[in-house]
Amino acid sequence: MTTHWCDFQNADVVMNIGSNSAENHPVSSKWLNRAHERGAKWIVVDPRYTRTAEVADIYCPIRSGTDIAFYGGMYRYIIENLIEPNLARHLAGEKVEEYNFEYLLNYTNASYLLNEGYEFDPETGLFSGWDEETGSYSAASWHYQVESESEWDTSAGGAYAWAVGEGVPEFTPPVVEHPKRDMTLSDPMCVYQQLKRHYSRYDMDTVCRICGMDKGTLELVYSTYASTAAPGKAGAILYALGQTQHTYGAQNTRAMSVLQLLLGNVGVPGGGVAALRGEPNVQGATDMGMLVNEHPAYLKWPNTTARATLRKWLEGETYSDGYYTNKPKFLISSLKEWFGDAATLDNDYGYDWWPKVPSAVGDQDYTHISTFELMSQGVIKGYFNWGMNPCHSAPNAGNARRSMANLDWLVVVDQVLTEAATFWKAPDMEPAEIDTEVYFLPCALIYEKPGIILNSGRWLQYRFKAVEPWGEAKPDYEIVDMLWREIVALYEAEGGANPDPILNTKWDYYVDGKIDPRPVAWALNGYRVAGTECDTSADDPKVDLLSGYSELAADGTTACATWIYSGFWNNNDAPLDPAEQPIARRDNTDESGLGLYSNWAYSWPNNRRILYNRASADTEGRPWSAEKTLVEWTGSEWNQVDVGDFTAVSNGVPVPPNNNAFFMLWEQNARLESYGMVDGPLPEHYEPFETPLSKNIVNGSLNNPVFLGKDYESTKHGTAADYPIVATTYSVTEQWQTGSQTRMCPALVEAMPAQFIEISEELAAEKGISRGDKVRVWNNRGSVVVDVVITKRMKPLTVDGGMQHLVGLTHHYGWAGAFGTSETLVNDLTPNVGDPNSQTPEFKAFLVNIEKA
Amino acid sequence: MSNGPVRVSAEDMALNKAFLKMMSEGKVERFIKRHSLQARLTHGITAMSCIWLCLSGLFVFVPALTQAAGPDAVLFMRMSHRVIGVVFVAVPLVSGLLAPKGVAHVFKNLFTKWDSDDKKWMKLFFPYLFMAKWIHMPDQHEVKSGQRFADGMLWFAGALMGVTGILLVVGSSWADFGMAAHGAILLLHDIGFFLIAIFAMAHMFLGSGIFQPYRGLAKLMFGNGMVSESDALYHWGHWAREEIALGENVVEKRR
């Protein structure tokens, strides 16, 4: 998230949408309650009345999968009620109390002019740039009009002299474009005018028709949340998988960002877009490139088109301005860590040894959903299933297990026998017909190994081992090391199709000959190559750790696997002692008074607690609210309560305030409109893959035109005629994800002994279902039998004039387990389609029918 | 018993004298069989169980006793309460099944109609307890009227204890009657204990012959089950005369 858990206490309005923080993130309640006690208003927007809704002040129901309509309506509300009536006053120099025009005009791209070719056609539901043949967009028309251009100063002593230094791969530096702006926001092509026009269709009546809430409640939510537009006020949006698990999940996230930018809520204490991560270390997994589409530390993987060579990567990925002008340093340092001495200037630092993501139009996608398609097609023959349980958690899980039965071999690394490890034991599988060789490697649980954990607020913390692993279980890094040595030995002995990437990979994280996470921490932090040996002895470690990422170089003299972490393990005096590193800090004094706790653990990047914190102060460097100072220009220098997220000092000289509040973007202004998405520059409402409506109420395209997985046969689209009930899935606090771990705890099984479907009393009466019954839930993809919770907390909604039933299912139980099991898997029902940007599956909105089992 | 003397005809007087002479010369004493061996065994076992149950029950009833005894002793007492409770319930039931006629006899006696001697005896009973030396009591049938009342109470209280005891065990192991019902059962068990405590003590005081006029009666239940002619005439005059006249249950013993 852009902020951190403790910062919730500074919010003036909290809005949970697509998250159930009280349920799934219990610790958050501690900080949210503090805000509430200070007088903050708390809103929950959710298809059902959740545990969070109970503690909140306002509850607004919403049909699953219609969030963008809700946000669009709020944009229109803000434009109509706050911006339009006051813009002229602001431009005339009057002080406007209720809206932060300074933020909108200076820190966002509201004033930027878009290309003349930019257009959205409500008739077709398509933006300009649509290619009917390929079914994809070209983003060219979504860019800005350019006022002027300038070039990098790479001369000796120039700001970019490093880019042509010795050892730096040759590349043409990007041209700095200076977009055209209209600071009066009146030019029809300016982002603000386009935004206003785009969302003029989203009036409250239309929003209610789509989403199903009543207008009074919607208006209360809009007016309450929009009150944070006042300078000095902050609203926090708390979201989770309820936003992301849609065929437009990334646009949902964009939509929240746009809302927060319109209200001036990004970068201020108590604001932000708070992604509540579901797993203790999922933020870490994302940082570390556990996602197929992201290289560690949010760099892009090579691909077969725009990033086919190192030069192309450097020229395409390096920003013309802002902090990402340094990307070559991050990439070369990463390559140096990846391939060590084998990475040289002459071989492009081993860039070509990295696998390349197929990226031409029509190329095969290899993400989660597609993996199972490729298994069923026989393309993927072997599968390492490490620390996940796709047989249970993948959408269309029945398809996943049937696909896995097509594998030659499967390796499952987990603490317990999961559904994936025993996929052939599923009640509907025939073990005799399955030839897959399954290997199970028991691994240590988090408490059974030392290591680093990272929370949603980007705080890294070192934790020591508490207990020994059971039996033969080993920490993951030991398992990897054993496999690695065997694989390398095989390549050395036998050669193979493509041995270079394997044989040249640097794998030397040993202390006294034993694999150890501490040299790995050096690699993540970064070090000077000269003077460092990762394969070290405990008595005499040789390492020259970097103090932070500002010391990274693009000339091969530094190595760093994840530049964003640089600085978290930088004590050269005791490089092998975790307790002496920044990430082991346990000082909970709060000098800021804002709950920054800067001496507790380490927050990436650079121990910065609130990202974009430059936006917490006006263009003169004065904080919007004196009580909430993160950074402040004193007249001669920057007072940094939090580590400034901007260039505060250049070459030792303080840099006076300017409008570069978002220096991770080349514009250094935040994007209300963005050309970075594959499915449109502005969030537009589309219906979920399976929708109860036959047409989109606001435009001519029922679904997101570019969603992922539309061509897979296994997807089996269902219609409202057969499956009239909208379903969503979620978790309960007592169980965690697929339950593999929590169902091993009898006390947790006792507290939540079953997965269930939540239905309204109205639906129960209609279907003759009563408490204690089992319910069969089915659609084209599967049929499951679950317990029922009949509740007042779930109510039918009025959607497009008709009554619409909604149900929710939890998904924690499966056939594997010792204390609590279920014959059927809820994810047999969810569709294997996903978001085209992030490839996240649509678990949160689909259609089913139900009956008493 | 009567107080006499009664004047009788000379003829009868002579017969009586001959009778007395025969008895003393033959050195014979007459006894009447009153309780069978089975009855005596059943009574003995049940009585001992009851005493143990009262004592062990006290460990639940009396906090000071419990706390002084310590957990181990209390555990022993509690467990024995359950084991002996089973004996207390089972033995009379089994015995009754083996001798249904005896059971019928017992209960017939309990509910037999009270005649004028019965009523008078009952009225005199409390004065008698304190003035046994001076009060002579009206003759009685096989079971004295007061005895019938006391035995009835013991039967009732015993049955109450047995039933509530079983329910308490069942209710805290295999079944759940709910706390209100459980509380009511507990209260009934306590009332039963009150009744047993009072009536059993009285029963022991009289029946074991601690009370001087009743001395020797202990043998009826804890001896050979026979009562001497003289004692029988004193306690159950009507019954004794009937039995002696019938002679079936009369045993003559040499002195």
Binding site: P26, S29, Y49, R51, A53, E54, V55, I58, V732, A747, L748, V749, E750, A751, P753, A754, V789, I790, K792, F819, T821 | M1, S2, N3, G4, P5, R7, V8, L15, K17, F19, V62, V74, R82, D115, K120, L124, M131, K133, I135, H136, M137, D139, S172, M179, G183, A184, L186, L187, A197, I198, M201, A202, I210, F211, Q212, P213, L233, Y234, E242
Partner: protein, 313 residues
């Protein structure tokens, strides 16, 4: 040590079950381990009630109404630690007793005799009893102990320590009451008109203080709790039995004393004549088997020494 109290503020509670599970873990209370042995209640309330291995459960009442359309009233079901604790008063073995220092009703399980008087006395239906073994010989009375063991070591009860949203607090009872009163005012100000403080005076004052957002009954609390009348009756039975038994023993002693020196004639019956004869004197004491003809009064006074000198031999 001042009197202590746990404060449960339902308005902060998120019903996460954390307290319930922390209680189980800290107190080593087992959960069912048979496959799917834990049945589902049909609501979030699992297990549905307290039991022999569960001292604390969260409750989840759903009510229609309120500004949000629905009210999900979270509650805490466990011992309230009454000042006038009827369970401690009725417990014969001292297994339940008031901890005078903290005000908590502590449990010493080794002393429990399994009588269940406590369960019948409790106005909140809290103490649970679990017996196992063929004779029910292993007995456990289960009830929140207030974590008196932890309190003595300067810690808060396990449930309080684990509570993330701050719905549970622990401290001096007076202070908790103060906090609770303030919270009720805050909630009323926020539109929860039925918000109420519970536990200040109930049963002489509880040591679990409740802030109930939607009122007493909505959160599953007992309005105006009273000790069970059964408990009073059971309380009467003990002295009654003691007095009864004592009086009886005294009476027997008197009877015994007055009966000392008692002698009576040896009798025989001659069926031939129908005479009952005094064996020593040969006198006939009764002829035939007729009913007694004297009055009760005559029976009492006929042989009294004051009335008749010859008396009884």
């Amino acid at each position: 040590m001042a009197e202590k109290a746990i404060l449960f503020d339902s308005s902060f509670c998120t019903g996460c079950h954390g307290c319930q599970i922390a209680c189980k873990c800290w107190n080593n209370l087992p959960s069912p381990t048979g496959l799917n042995e834990s049945g589902f209640s049909g609501t979030h309330q699992n297990p549905p009630d307290l039991n022999g291995h569960t001292r604390l459960i969260m409750t989840y009442n759903e009510l229609e109404g309120g500004s949000k359309g629905v009210m999900w009233a979270f509650g805490r079901r466990a011992c309230r630690h009454c000042s006038d604790a009827p369970c401690a008063g009725i417990c014969p073995s001292g297994a339940l007793r008031k901890d005078e220092e903290t005000g908590m009703v502590a449990v010493e399980r080794s002393k429990c005799v399994g009588c269940q008087y406590c369960s019948t006395a409790c106005p909140f239906d809290v103490p649970r009893y679990e017996a196992s073994g063929p004779l029910g010989q292993v007995t456990i009375v289960e009830k929140c102990t207030g974590c008196v063991d932890r309190i003595r070591q300067g810690m808060a009860p396990a449930c309080v320590t684990t509570c993330q949203p701050g719905a549970l607090r622990f401290g001096d009872r007076e202070e908790m009451l103060e906090v609770a009163r303030e919270r009720v005012e805050v909630l009323k100000g926020r539109g929860y008109e039925d918000a109420v403080l519970y536990g200040e005076n109930e049963m002489g004052g509880l040591h679990v203080i409740y802030v109930l957002k939607y009122g007493v009954e909505a959160h599953g609390q007992v309005p105006n709790p009273q000790a069970s009348p059964m408990a009073d009756l059971v309380g009467i039975m003990k002295p009654l039995t003691a007095v009864g038994a004592g009086a009886a023993v005294l009476g027997f002693a008197a009877m015994f004393g007055l009966g000392v020196g008692y002698k009576r004639k040896k009798l025989a019956y001659n069926p031939e004549t129908g005479d009952t004869i005094d064996v020593e004197t040969g006198e006939v004491v009764k002829h035939g088997d007729g009913q007694d003809e004297q009055s009760v009064k005559e029976h009492i006074f006929e042989n009294l020494p004051v009335r008749k000198g010859d008396g009884h031999e």
